[in-house]
């Protein structure tokens, strides 16, 4: 990282330059700020009693303790400096052969100015020098951290991928090519109908925002109050989506990634709304297509409901008759078709597809309950045992 030094202003540093023996200089290298020319172990100086001594362990020692350096030499943000907040940046001090260095606790931020103040009176006071100083005895040094030159992030996928989705859709995922900055999601996503009108109060606002640990996948929830029939929000405002209507989810490129850069481009996800899906997932509506033995052809599991992409990949596994998991890769196509491709060719015989009953479709219905359950009228099921589907791989024809 290269830092550009904007300006180095000396304010009446008369105490140091009387004999030209000691003239401290400031610099910033690799995120560390240095004040050098303070005398040092070999330097002679006749203006202060400061000395740096090599310690037994190779470290450098001086009579000035690290806490005291903060009174002598501090780094400030542009804002703190201009507004005179008297709050220096947190960090640690270390002695060098000819001075002292400051390493911030959190690395200096991109595209930002910082100010370094070195107080010669503070320095002399701590070295035991009692000479009288002029009122302006501070050295000021300003540096700028340039913006990182990195490629801008883009939206890789929006799930579900289908362009026909149920009216009571609960959840969408927006996946990015790189980590995003949290805290601004709801400013950058809008739902717009075919007449270009923005649909208000569509999404469930969660302050913390639902990101995965890499901050590359955002979970967008539609307000369940508006989706569930009979709830006040549903009665007053209706479902955010209307059957038969065409919508666009607009993702604005001014959304910033973790480097502070905007997205490469706007993204529009268009879809038409079909009738609500209010039934539970059921094994009766799953079709299995067995692969051929001795091949690595995919085992195909076709649902008739638009599945939640993340849960589908999380909750479906394949095992042999003994319950041993088969290793392989699972993909979801067109939101309904799961394809399991084993790493090793299939052997003929019986296999089980195990599905966790908590697998959900895009409207939040799982094998136990429909999302729109009224707990007073229906008991909520809490089964955890896997839904088992049998599939037989026929021996290859010889």
């Amino acid at each position: 990282m290269k830092y550009s030094v904007i300006a180095m202003v000396m304010l009446a540093c008369s105490v140091f330059d009387a004999e030209g023996q000691l003239s401290p200089r400031m610099n910033v290298v690799d995120g560390v700020v240095y004040v050098i020319g303070l005398g040092g172990s070999t330097g002679t100086n006749n203006v202060s009693n400061f000395s740096l001594r090599p310690g037994v362990d190779g470290s450098v020692k001086s009579d000035i303790s690290s806490e005291k350096w903060e009174d002598i030499f501090s780094v400030y943000t542009e804002e703190a400096y201009v507004r005179n907040l008297n709050q220096p940046v947190a960090g640690t001090y270390a002695l060098t052969s000819d001075g002292v260095s400051f390493t911030p606790l959190y690395s200096f931020s991109d595209a930002t100015n910082y100010h370094v103040i070195f107080s010669s009176s503070g320095f002399l006071r701590n070295t035991g020098d009692s000479r009288v100083l002029p009122p302006a005895d501070r050295m000021h040094f300003e540096f700028h951290v340039p913006r990182k030159n990195v490629s801008r992030t883009f939206v890789e996928f929006v799930y579900p991928e289908s362009d026909v989705l149920p009216e009571n859709m609960l959840r969408m995922y927006i996946c990015f090519s790189g980590p995003m900055m949290p805290g601004e999601v709801y400013k950058h996503i809008r739902l717009v109908n075919s007449r270009g009108e923005q649909i208000e109060k569509t999404f469930l606002i969660i302050d913390q925002e639902l990101w995965d640990s890499s901050r590359k996948r955002f979970t967008l929830l539609f307000d369940p109050g508006r989706i569930k029939r009979g709830l006040k929000a549903n009665l007053e405002m209706g479902s955010p989506l209307r059957e038969g209507e065409q919508y666009s989810l607009m993702i604005d490129s001014s959304w910033t990634d973790v480097n502070g850069n905007h997205l490469q481009r706007n993204v529009v996800k268009q879809f038409r709304v079909a009738e609500s899906e209010r039934s539970r997932l059921s094994v009766d509506n799953i079709k299995l297509f067995a692969p051929a033995a001795d091949t690595r052809g995919p085992l195909v599991i076709r649902f008739d409901q638009v599945l939640d992409q993340m849960l589908a990949l999380k909750y479906l596994t394949v095992s042999d008759v003994l319950g041993n998991a088969i290793n392989g890769e699972l993909t979801l196509e067109r939101d309904k078709i799961l394809k399991f491709t084993p790493y090793l060719p299939w052997e003929s015989g019986k296999y089980f597809v195990r599905v966790d009953p908590l697998l959900e479709d895009v409207a939040g219905n799982n094998f136990n309950n429909s999302f729109d359950i009224d707990l007073e009228q229906t008991n909520r099921l809490n089964r955890r045992e896997a839904v088992l589907l049998e599939v037989f791989v026929e021996p290859a024809a010889r």
């Binding site: 780094v75 943000t77 804002e79 703190a80 507004r83 907040l85 709050q87 220096p88 940046v89 606790l105 959190y106 200096f108 931020s109 991109d110 890789e156 609960l170 959840r171 090519s177 980590p179 900055m181 949290p182 805290g183 969660i206 913390q208 639902l210 990101w211 995965d212 640990s213 901050r215 996948r217 955002f218 369940p224 109050g225 009979g230 006040k232 007053e236 973790v258 502070g260 939640d308 993340m310 849960l311 990949l313 999380k314 909750y315 596994t317 394949v318 998991a325 088969i326 290793n327 392989g328 890769e329 699972l330 399991f340 959900e360 939040g364 999302f371 009224d374 707990l375 007073e376 809490n382």
Partner: protein, 472 residues
């Protein structure tokens, strides 16, 4: 695009296989192990203290909870605290501008009264940080580079997932330490569900997740989906309960013994705090035999609810009431004229601490505020009445009765006022006797003593000089 997808998938497969192998290689640790070194937070959304000064950090992105011992002793209780423009100062400390920090949570260390603020620092990289404010209002960065800690996982990764696994996205909204256990409220984005988790402390591998159901008055139905925004232990009818504040905005109670013994529990909704509002933080305090809870809200004033009113409150149930939009129903509350409170925690016996947005100038400030204790107001009113009526002995009796359970500040002010009455009556001995009591309790502002015309008669006395040395 295709090749990127393929690479991504391959990478995930490799990563998962590696993770799983690691998981299998390590035997499950039966007892808690103290770790030493750096805590590398991926996120920090909630912090909490136990009474003993153990600090808990919630990292929902890293799927971890950390605990470290922050027990510290200080010289004495801090009476008041104020740091103006707290956001600007924290930003300056962390080396970024104010727009690049977000204060996520606040917790007061009960052993030192230092204030800990969980902050997300944006900028060159995204970093969670903790700023600590001491009793003098100095702010320092709380460094996690070299600490001793315990950790536990929030992950509920399926035991055997032979193919790629995408980690859950989740949020942690609040934590509280109750009876030796840590309670964590959260929301998982993948299975849309609100859960309360319990962790033994020091952490073992035993955790329990409780599915809570409540009646949602503004939805007029029972449901499990609303997220708990904030919760706290609170007694109702002599039994410890968890009082949970939900978004949009039911307040529900769950008996603690039920929470400890069940997997699924239906709570009793005791209030609807009004739709369009979110409760942000809750604290409780005692006044005599009555407990009070304070609720800070996103779109309402600060609310104070007494345990007496909660004892009487029956559940709000379906058909019971038709809640008009944005109206509140259920338990009675005192609306305290405070708005813009974004963070709230208990500070000391007399005061609570807030991070508050000033509606006049938009500044964000950290400030202690006096608790509204009805018993204190009753006694102070009564003592003042007796004092002004010249019934000084009776006034003294009331203060003596109040002192053991009352707060120091109020007691000291009452002793001081009583001394003033004696001074005005030229009873110098009694005046010095009660000024001494006020000073012992910390009422020692020099300006007050020196400028109070009631005390003029004492200034010629040699005891005044001695008293003067005790003023600040």
């Amino acid at each position: 695009m295709k090749s990127i997808i393929a690479k991504l998938k391959l990478w995930l497969v490799v990563a998962v296989v590696a993770t799983l192998q690691n998981a299998h290689a390590k035997p499950v640790e039966p007892s808690p192990v103290m770790l030493k070194g750096e805590i590398q937070l991926k996120s920090l959304t909630s912090i909490a203290f136990s009474k003993e000064g153990v600090l808990f950090l919630a990292d929902p992105l890293g799927m971890k909870i950390y605990a470290l011992d922050e027990k510290r002793t200080t010289a004495g209780p801090v009476e008041q605290l104020e740091v103006t423009n707290i956001d600007e100062k924290i930003a300056a400390l962390l080396g970024v501008s104010t727009k690049d920090i977000k204060i996520e949570d606040m917790a007061v260390n009960p052993t030192s009264h230092d204030v800990y603020l969980a902050v997300t620092r944006r900028g060159a990289s995204l970093q969670p940080a903790i700023a600590r404010v001491d009793s003098k209002g100095n702010i320092s960065a709380f460094n996690l580079n070299n600490v001793s800690y315990y950790e536990t996982s929030l992950a509920d990764i399926p035991a055997k997932s032979p193919h790629q696994y995408f980690p859950l996205s989740s949020a942690i909204t609040d934590m509280a330490f109750i009876d030796g256990e840590l309670y964590v409220a959260g929301l998982s984005g993948d299975e849309f569900n609100s859960k309360l988790r319990r962790f033994q402390y020091p952490f073992t591998n035993k955790t329990q997740a409780i599915q809570l159901e409540i009646f949602h008055p503004s939805h007029d139905r029972f449901e499990t989906n609303a997220p708990i925004e904030t919760f706290l232990p609170f007694p109702v009818n002599g039994k410890m309960h968890i009082l949970a504040g939900y978004g949009c905005a039911p307040l529900a109670k769950f008996q603690l013994s039920d929470v400890q013994s069940k997997d699924q529990l239906r709570g009793v909704t005791v209030a609807e705090l009004g739709g369009g509002n979110r409760p942000l933080d809750m604290i409780s305090f005692k006044d005599g035999n009555v407990d009070y809870m304070l609720i800070a809200n996103s779109d309402r004033t600060l609310m104070q609810i007494s345990s007496e009113d909660l004892d009487k409150q029956t559940g709000v149930v379906k058909g019971d009431t038709r809640v008009p939009p944005y109206a509140s129903v259920g338990v009675k509350y005192l609306s305290i004229a405070e708005v813009g409170i974004l963070q709230l925690d208990d500070f000391n016996d007399q005061s609570y601490l807030v991070v508050q947005r000033n509606v006049d100038d938009g500044t964000l400030n950290l400030r202690s505020k006096g608790k509204l204790k009805p018993s204190t107001f009753r006694v102070r009113g009564l003592v003042e009445e007796l004092r002004l009526a010249g019934k000084l002995k009776q006034a003294e009796d009331e203060i003596v009765k109040y002192e053991p359970t009352g707060d120091r500040r109020s007691t000291s002010v009452m002793w001081y006022n009583l001394a003033c009455s004696y001074a005005l009556g030229n009873d110098t001995n009694n005046a010095f006797k009660y000024l001494d009591k006020a000073l012992v309790l910390g009422y020692n502002e020099r300006g007050q003593y020196e400028n109070d015309p009631d005390l003029v008669s004492l200034k010629g006395d040699k005891r005044w000089k001695e008293l003067s040395t005790r003023l600040k």
